[in-house]
Symmetry: C2
Subunit: 261 residues, 2 copies
DNA sequence: CGTCAATTTTGACTAATCGTCATTTTAGTA
DNA sequence: TACTAAAATGACGATTAGTCAAAATTGACG
């Protein structure tokens, strides 16, 4: 692999602008970074067209303006490409979370906002959501480059940090007791519930097995169960979180408009 | 594909004995069914040896006593084989759940028993657990035969039925109110939490990212949060579920012995 | 501006793997 | 034993992943 690519691709996946690092070949690096973005976009479109099973590097080469060898300069394998898409996916979630925590309301409402954002993302970008599911699969992980694996881990840390922050603000606010469980435990619970709910919903949608569920409110319902279990004030019986959920639809209106009908 | 195989493999995957259906070629069918079991076992071992990414049909042929064509009579693709392993996996879970609901205790304790069993299984059979994760992945689903897909769906229904039953017995027992949420909603919440927790734990173990968590008690902790949120009596503050968790280790002792140290 | 070394791109090539199917073998039946 | 339906075989064609020697590009420097 080329000298610069080794560095650039990691920098870029992190969202850094390589120009800052070395002025010498700034333009070249920029071009390379842009190409990687383009390749990822094309790969995304390709998956939408032919499915994950139908994704091949040769097909990607056909749509791309560069050659196969160059693609392999960016991604060490097909699975590495999936992981790169997963990282792009995580970046989107991070952006959404950044917006979510700015929702005006008490700490528990802001936590709900994050859960709302996560569901929103899973519906806005089903393919990318599937990418992060796939990237958690051993067959993909085993063939993902170590650099990308560690980037993914770092991104996930960023996401859990947001949750940590929420619970801490709940504790500071006085609405949440910190005696029984650590913040890390609470974050794990919230994360597991969100991930599990969205994964199952996504899958159930494909299998037509969720007639028994009110999908739109499943996440709100689950979140209320969990936060009530944490004794996070105000409890669902004392507060209209349904209304919060509706306010969230307004708060995220610009994204909701993009949802497929 | 051979005439009988078409029927047999579905019957067998369902756990039915083909002998019941037609006496004519009973022995032949039995042999075919046994071979499928053998192939699955060998595939499982192969994955343990070379990883999911290294699993190939050719390697399976080498360890098997039959030819490639015969393997393709059983499994329409490599992905179909993964799904077949996933079904085997689900059968194990079903057996464990059958035992779990016999745990002596109140309804909430029995629900805890099911969650315990699920975690036990994810630790006892990490490879098979990964199979069901992989089988939920689009790349695998897209290449799985429709017959097997519907079997998987059916198996999952069986599992949710166990949860439904638990919540209903809680309602009958009087420890759980049924006004706010349907049993289906509660089952979904419990299922999402269990699946999400185990999936994340499994992944985190690989990524060494759970130093911040007491892994052994994470599931108990999460379950308590959720069941408390359901107002399922007795609440965690009024009952020593830690003790129940320990009793469960005794109840499942024969399986726990098998856990890797 | 031309030269040169360092870097990147290219796509033909190899190796590996999937999945098929014409042929052979087996099992059951009369 | 002869006959037939079903199943097993493995050589084969097709597809795909991933490589690498050679060509092209870049940018630095005299």
């Amino acid at each position: 692999m080329g000298y610069w690519l080794k560095h650039i691709k990691k920098l870029h996946a992190n969202g850094l602008c390589p120009i800052d690092i070395c002025m010498g070949s700034a333009r070249k690096q920029q071009k390379i970074a842009e190409r990687e973005e383009g390749l990822l976009t094309q790969a995304h479109e390709l998956v939408d067209q032919v499915g994950f099973a139908g994704l091949t590097i040769d097909k990607l080469v056909k749509t791309a303006t560069c050659s196969k060898g160059t693609i392999y300069n960016h991604f060490s394998s097909k699975e590495d490409l999936i992981s790169a898409l997963s990282i792009r996916s995580l970046n989107i979630v991070i952006d959404l979370f950044d917006k979510a925590i700015q929702f005006p309301g008490n700490a528990r409402e802001r936590a709900l906002s994050v859960i709302f954002a996560y569901q929103l993302y899973s519906q806005l970008e089903p393919t990318l959501f599937m990418c992060v599911m796939s990237a958690k699969t051993p067959a993909v992980m085993e063939k993902t480059s170590p650099e990308r694996l560690s980037i993914m881990q770092e991104k996930e840390l960023q996401l859990t940090a947001v949750c940590d922050q929420l619970f801490e603000s709940g504790i500071n606010e006085g609405s949440l007791k910190s005696e029984i469980r650590t913040v890390a435990d609470l974050t794990f619970a919230m994360w597991a519930l969100s991930f599990g709910s969205n994964a199952l919903l996504m899958n159930a949608k494909a299998a037509q097995g969720i007639d028994r569920l009110d999908q739109k409110n499943a996440l709100l319902s689950n979140a209320n169960l969990m936060f009530d279990g944490m004794q996070w004030q105000p409890l669902a019986q004392d507060f209209d979180y349904q209304k919060t959920w509706q306010r969230l639809e307004v708060f995220f209106a610009e994204y909701i408009e993009l949802l497929p009908v």
